[in-house]
Symmetry: C2
Subunit: 333 residues, 2 copies
């Protein structure tokens, strides 16, 4: 099932179901991104936050809180926390990657400057920490502070691993846990903590978010080699041109003959790319069945996500979250 | 009394008195700056943390905790937290300012790259938040999360205010509270919170740190126009060359005639600096008595710091902290 065939997509179903809570999250975000003294802050933040991200991460917190029976006000605070951490990370990522576009619009580092992106990102991190203190739960703080450390560690690891052909699937997984899965799993876990779930169920929520995040990121990496720009907004080959060693390439490198290895060394490690190289890369990936094998990995992680959900009580939201696990991989079917 | 005339300087007296706790802080810092997966992190961090800063901020936490009778282990965690936040801020500042030297050594952004400085800074922020969760005090978390937001807000404000002649003393003070005083006051306040001080005494500790930080920063800005490079490691005129609108210049601008105003517009706002401009700037500052008046402001803040201390119980550490308030200003006598 392709992206446009689904009658109603699970993230849209979540958004509809959670619309009141999501409105409250958006109100809180706008309130907290304000700054009495530095108008540059809401300008930069609004550019990114209003740009129409899907709010997937905050929805995970709202959804798991509801699924676990939470009825208090703080799911909104933690959902906003998660979105602030995500936004801060994007601001810093775009500086690090020297990106010029994000969600089809010029990046903040291009519209303002790197300085603003670094400092406004810091401000949003600090705002996130203020928000997460408000529920008064040390367990929540522990989870989110650990996630923040894992995210930053993954980003630093990626600096050295991204263009190094020695990077194997284990390091790739570590990087993916940092850049994507850590915030997904924190988002799902804190929803359950608010509702007072026991340790086993808390762990099931963590496992769901972790596996969902990994499936999501692997699918994203796949899209880069087989996406349809109209459906996904991604251009085929961006990662290749940016010399990012993602899972399909890692699988192809592991199985490479000498000639193929030299190709990857030239194009990824040395960055010497020529006309026709992307086609050659796609041909090598096809020769080793690398995209299909990567897809199978993504399916495996989606399966783990669903298995984790099965350890939680029956609830209408559980069905939507199950569909969501299928959906993040089905995007690239 | 000049810097070298003091027989024993108050920060050295503090370091001697607190040496065991400081050793524990240094051990904890080394432990927590490690990263299992990303060796770049301790490399960059060590470069800065081992570079021989005076550990003034962590000492403030250890000192106030002792002064208030705290006997537990967590003063060490919070002192390390404060140093991590400070180090993260320095890493990001050097990216924003495109600095090439810090404490007489090449900056991390020069030795590695901007990416490493941004991401390792993020890692240290996250580590700081992990550390501050450990004492299990929501009040401590509140104070430190607020300080982090004030710091980032001050930095963003500085971006727009630093080269704008319309910046007055009120905005300058706001920036200084962000870039310096917020961490000083959080450092002193949390020492008292650990010890269970009541609200009045907590406020006195905050007021001491706030006033000490402001005095410290004003003195630092003064040093830039009248420092002795051998004693202070600062070159006269760095701020002028970097077009930073600090308090002496703000005072001179407020009293400027048309010709002087044109001079500041050309040199600070437009950045068109020529041979002899620093000498001219110093002459204008002298004409308006701007350095002496700035010094009087610093003295005033040192006085407020001492008055705040007087609201706290008698203790040997209180005397050293009183001397410290005099000392941060006496550096530029």
């Amino acid at each position: 099932m392709g992206l446009d065939d689904a009658v109603i997509k699970p993230h849209e179903e979540l958004a509809a179901r959670l619309s009141e809570r999501l409105d409250a999250v958006n109100t809180l975000i706008r309130e907290r991104m304000a700054s009495r003294h530095a108008p540059r802050i809401p300008e930069v933040t609004a550019h990114l936050i209003e740009a129409g991200g899907k709010r997937l991460r905050p929805m995970l917190t709202l959804a798991t809180a509801e699924m676990c029976g939470y009825g208090g006000p703080y799911d909104v605070h933690l959902a906003a926390t998660v979105e602030f951490i995500h936004t801060a990370t994007l601001l810093h990522d775009d500086v690090v990657d020297e990106s010029r576009q994000r969600r089809g619009r010029p990046t903040a580092n291009l519209l303002w400057d790197n300085k603003s992106s670094v400092l406004v990102g810091d401000y949003l991190f600090a705002r996130a920490f203020q928000l997460m203190v408000e529920p008064g739960s040390l367990r929540v703080l522990d989870i989110l502070a650990n996630a923040a450390a894992t995210i930053a560690e993954g980003e630093v690891l990626q600096l050295s691993a991204a263009r190094d052909l020695a990077t194997g699937e284990d390091v790739y997984l570590q990087v993916v846990r940092g850049k994507t899965a850590a915030l997904f799993s924190a988002a799902t876990q804190v929803g359950g903590v608010l509702a007072g779930m026991d340790e086993d169920r808390e762990k099931a929520l963590y496992d769901y978010g972790d596996a969902l995040g990994i499936a999501f990121q692997i699918a994203d990496d796949l899209l880069d080699y087989q996406g349809d720009v109209h459906a996904t907004g991604k251009n085929v080959g961006d990662d290749f041109r940016e010399r990012k060693l993602t899972l399909p390439v890692i699988k192809a490198v592991a199985a490479a003959n000498a000639r193929e290895r030299a190709f990857w060394q030239r194009t990824i490690e040395k960055g010497d790319q020529r006309e026709g190289d992307l086609e050659e890369a796609l041909a090598i990936l096809a020769r080793h069945d690398a995209l299909a094998r990567t897809h199978a990995d993504a399916d495996g992680w989606a399966g783990r996500a669903k298995a984790a959900l099965a350890r939680l009580p029956e609830h209408p939201v559980r069905r939507i979250l199950t569909d969501l696990a299928d959906y993040v991989v089905a995007r690239v079917a």
